[in-house]
Structures are given as C-alpha cells and as structure tokens.
C-alpha cells in the first residue's frame, strides 16, 4: 500500500485547506480499493446478519419469517380495504414490500453508515467506501432472504410470469448501484450535519405511503375522484425503482418510462456522490 497525502503548505491559514487530498484519483482509488477488499466486506456483511440472530434457533430464517408474516397481514388487510382479490393482491403487496425493504434499508442505514462505523474509521486505515460496500451487501443478503417469500407466494398464487422475469436481474442491479450512491452521498453529509439522519427517517416513513406498495397505482389512476392526486406518485422517485423490479417479478407488462426515470436518477446521483466523495472523503475521519 502506498499513499501520498498532501495539502497546501500555507502558513497559518484561517480555514483548513486541502488541495491534493481532493482529487478524482483519490476518490476513484477509494472505490477501487474498497472493491478489492471484497473478501473483507463480504465476510463482515454475513457476520452482521449472523450477529443479529446469534443464539436464536432459527437464525437468519427469522428475516424471511417476519417478512412473510408482515406481507400476509398487510396483504389481507389492504385487499379487504380496497375490495381486491387477495389472491392477486397478496403477492402484489409482498413483492412491493420486499423491494421497499431493500430501498429503505439502503437509505436509512446509508445516512448512518460512517457515524456507526466511527470506531473502525478512527482506528483502522481502510478505504471509506468499504463501509458502503458492506452496507449494500448486507441489504442484498436481506433481500435474498426475503425473496423466499416471493417464491412461495408465486407458487401458491400463480402469476403470469414470462421471459420478462429475466429483467428482474438488471433491475435489481440498478437498485444496488443506486443504494451505493445514496449511502455515499447521505453518509458523508450526515456525518457533518447530524440532523440529516432524523430528517431522512421521517421522510422515508412518509414515502412508504406515497409509494404504491399497499395500494395499486393503476387502480387509483382509473378512479376519477382520486386520479389527480394519484398521479402525484409519479414525482416519487422510489415508485419508479419499485416498478422496474416488481413488474418482471409479477409478470406485469413492462413500462419503459420507469426505466428511463430510474436510469436518469442513477446518473445524476452518481455524479453528486462522486463530487462529494472527491471533496469530503478525507474529512470524514475528522468529522465522525
């Protein structure tokens, strides 16, 4: 390992200034070094999951079970409320929920990613993005556990699955790539401004109801009384990410508009995250 760390040799400047610490090479180097340590975060991510269920008899199976209970309960409740057929609505709610769990996990834990790893950041030299890789990997593992529920429900209540199911793979990949920039961006900003995590937590709670998870967007849009308001959901970026993955998983027709929006957000988000990483990467150790 070799590294050069330098800044202006300015005399008694008022503000700490840092020039070569802020370089694109350092930012991308951090990402590359983090990727090279995948054995480490792969191990730590598994460890995080095992840790949570240590000494319990069923272990990580609890992830799937609690998801199954929640999805069944909510599915039956909202099917009754909206007077839908539960055979169709239960898989709909369950699939939406498990995708939502991944998204909200990345967003919620993303803002705390550096704050909660304070000890490691201060005591072991490691690339900053290591913690982000670990977080996204952990959420991916949670998602895979939850996917069991989807598989069970699709067997019990057959869905019109087709070749479009293959689209689920790139869709999930896109979700992972977005989870990464969200964690980098909000993680760095939240380390500096500690009000960010509670703000994000309350917004996420609201967004859950603004996203068609326990309600059906198409159904509300058809109802002339609420169609206007339902269309507001289009402004919710989470909806587009949810749809690109839920459509193939349930064999629904693919709406390409969602892919376009999701793709555009991915590019914008990464540009913002890379900028913040470039400028403030070296400050995180000072801020935590």
């Amino acid at each position: 390992m070799s590294s050069t760390v330098s800044a202006h040799a300015g005399q008694a400047a008022e503000q700490p200034e840092a020039a070569p610490s802020r370089s694109w090479r350092r930012a991308t180097g951090d990402l590359a070094l983090g990727w090279r340590q995948r054995t480490l975060w792969g191990y730590l991510g598994w460890q995080d999951i095992k840790q949570r269920y240590r000494r319990s008899v069923l272990g990580p199976l609890w992830i799937s079970i609690s998801m199954g209970v929640l999805a069944t309960g909510l599915g039956i409740l909202y099917a009754a409320l909206f007077q839908n057929d539960y055979r169709q609505f239960l898989p709909y709610v369950a699939t939406g929920l498990l995708i939502w769990n991944f998204i909200s996990g990345c967003v919620l834990e993303g803002s705390e990613v550096f704050i909660s790893n304070e000890g490691l950041i201060k005591f072991l030299p490691a690339p900053l993005t290591l913690h982000v890789y670990r977080l996204v990997w952990r959420q991916t593992l949670f998602f895979l556990h939850n996917l069991v529920i989807w598989a069970i429900l699709v067997v019990i209540f057959p869905q019109p699955l087709g070749w479009s199911l293959l689209l689920a793979l790139p869709a999930f990949a896109l979700l992972v790539v977005n989870g990464f920039w969200v964690a980098v961006l909000s993680g760095i900003i939240a380390t500096r401004f500690r009000d960010i995590p509670p703000i994000i937590a309350s917004v996420v709670q609201l967004v859950f109801y603004m996203t068609p998870i326990v309600w059906d967007y198409g159904q509300l849009a058809k109802n002339p009384n609420v169609a206007e308001r339902a269309r507001l959901a289009e402004l919710n970026p989470v909806m587009h990410f949810l749809e690109i993955l839920r459509e193939p998983l349930l064999g629904e027709p693919i709406v390409w508009r969602h892919w376009v929006v999701a793709g555009a957000i991915t590019v914008l988000g990464w540009v913002a995250a890379l900028l913040v990483l470039r400028n403030y990467r070296s400050r995180v150790a000072y801020w935590v």
Partner: protein
C-alpha cells in the same frame, strides 16, 4: 522503499458542538446575516507543523504527556488522518495496533477475529489460514481461540492483536500504548519478533509511557509536546531531556 515522510503537517479538528453541527445554523444563519458561518467553528490544532521522516530499519519511540499528540501522530502516519495542511507520504504496508477493542468482534471466536483482523490489514483469506497455526502458537492461547472474544482478558486481546500484526510481514508497524497489558515473558517474546520484523523489511513507531518498553523496542525517539515536536534524536538523549535524568543508564544499572 519503506518510509514515512511528513512535512509541515497540521491536523486541525473542527469542534462542532450540538448547535454548529446542525443544519439550522447553516440554513438560518444565511437568512439572518453572518451569524454562525463556518469560520466560527472552533478548531483544535491537534498537531502543528510536524516534520518527521522515518526510514526502513528505524525503531522510533514516541514520548510525551497525555494529550501531547502521540496517538494523533500515529494516526497521521497510518493514513487515517490526511493532514489539513502540509504533506504526508507513506510508503509501505501499514499495520496499526491502536485501540484493542476496535475491529474485534466480542461475539465471535478468537480464530474468526484473527481472520477479520488479517483481512482488514490487506491479507487474503487463504494467506490468513496459512498463518493461523503460527499465530495460535505465538499467542499461547491454545483452545481459548475457539471461545468468543468477550471471554478474553485485556492481556489476551493484546496477545491476539500482536500475534496478527507480527505474522503478516507488515512494513510499517504502529503501536500505541496499551500493549503494556501483557506479562513480561510474553513481551520478551514479542520484542524478539518485532525486532526481527524491523530488521527484515520494516520500521516501527511505538508510543509509550513505559521506559522499559521504550528501551527494549526503540533506538530513536520523538518527544511530543502540545501537538508539536519538541525534540527528536537518539532515544537516550531524548528520554533524558524529557525525564530530566538519564533513564537509560538507571535501567542498565538495575539489570
């Protein structure tokens, strides 16, 4: 070439109190005028104008009072802190032993902790598996390595941490105090291993308050005072100036 070169480096910590760390000031401050702008954040200059260069084969002791900046300097040398002003250039594979609780999971076994530590220090899983037996033998922990780490005493944790860093052929070894928790027999063993390491391919920087350890492990020293380097040179001279008496001679007499 393994080396540490630090020139005129500063480490300034911004101290955000609950108010200045919040968005409120940044947002409301703009609306209301100039109150609460960034420059109002108080700064602690933990290290000031540090220039050090350490070359391969050197064993440097860090002395100074509590809060003099020893640990911060070690973290600057490890690359955890990049200097806010000045330059720091570190060439070589860094292996720090700072806080013994960090990077160790109390719930998993000693073996697994050896693995995690090794991975953090840039080893691969296979490389660590090859070294596990050697570490087990060196630490003398035996069957205890299968027990969760929370059952370990402080001294046993130090043994584990030292066992890992000395087994992975690091080039830059950075040790903070705290390793004093081990008994003298083990320390003698560790010293031989550390010295062998430094001779092979590395350098060592060791912060300590214990004269015995310093004399055992180091040949040169840096005296830190209020975030600045007060003196650097041969261990005997620096220690004598720091303590006000010839500590090395006293120790030699006693032995």
């Amino acid at each position: 070439m393994v080396s540490i070169d630090i020139q005129n480096a500063y480490v300034d910590f911004p101290i955000f109190d609950a108010k200045s760390r919040s968005l409120k000031k940044a947002v409301l401050g703009k609306a209301g005028g100039r109150i609460g702008t960034e420059s109002k954040v108080p700064i602690i200059e933990a290290l000031r104008d540090i220039s050090v260069s350490v070359r391969q084969g050197q064993r440097v002791g860090l002395v100074g009072h509590n809060g003099a900046g020893k640990s911060t300097l070690l973290r600057l040398m490890s690359g955890i802190y990049e200097p806010t002003r000045g330059r720091a250039r570190i060439e070589g594979k860094v292996a720090p032993v700072f806080d013994l609780g960090v990077g160790m999971d109390p719930e998993i076994s000693g073996f697994e902790n050896i693995m995690v530590r090794g991975l953090f220090l840039g080893m691969t899983r296979k490389q660590m598996q090859e070294r596990v037996d050697d570490i087990a033998e060196f630490t003398e922990l035996g069957d205890y390595l299968s027990m969760p780490l929370r059952t370990y005493s402080t001294g046993m944790r130090v043994r584990l941490a030292l066992g890992v860093v000395t087994s992975i052929d690091p080039e830059i070894l950075l040790l903070d105090e705290g390793i004093g928790a081990v008994d003298s027999d083990f320390l003698a063993k560790a010293r031989d291993r550390l010295n062998a390491l430094v001779e092979r391919s590395g350098l060592l920087v060791f912060a300590s308050h214990s004269d015995e350890f310093l004399v055992d492990l180091c040949d040169t020293a840096i005296w830190m005072d209020h975030g600045q380097i007060r003196e650097q040179g041969p261990l005997r001279e620096v220690l004598a100036h720091y303590k006000g008496r010839d500590v090395v001679a006293e120790l030699a007499e006693r032995r």
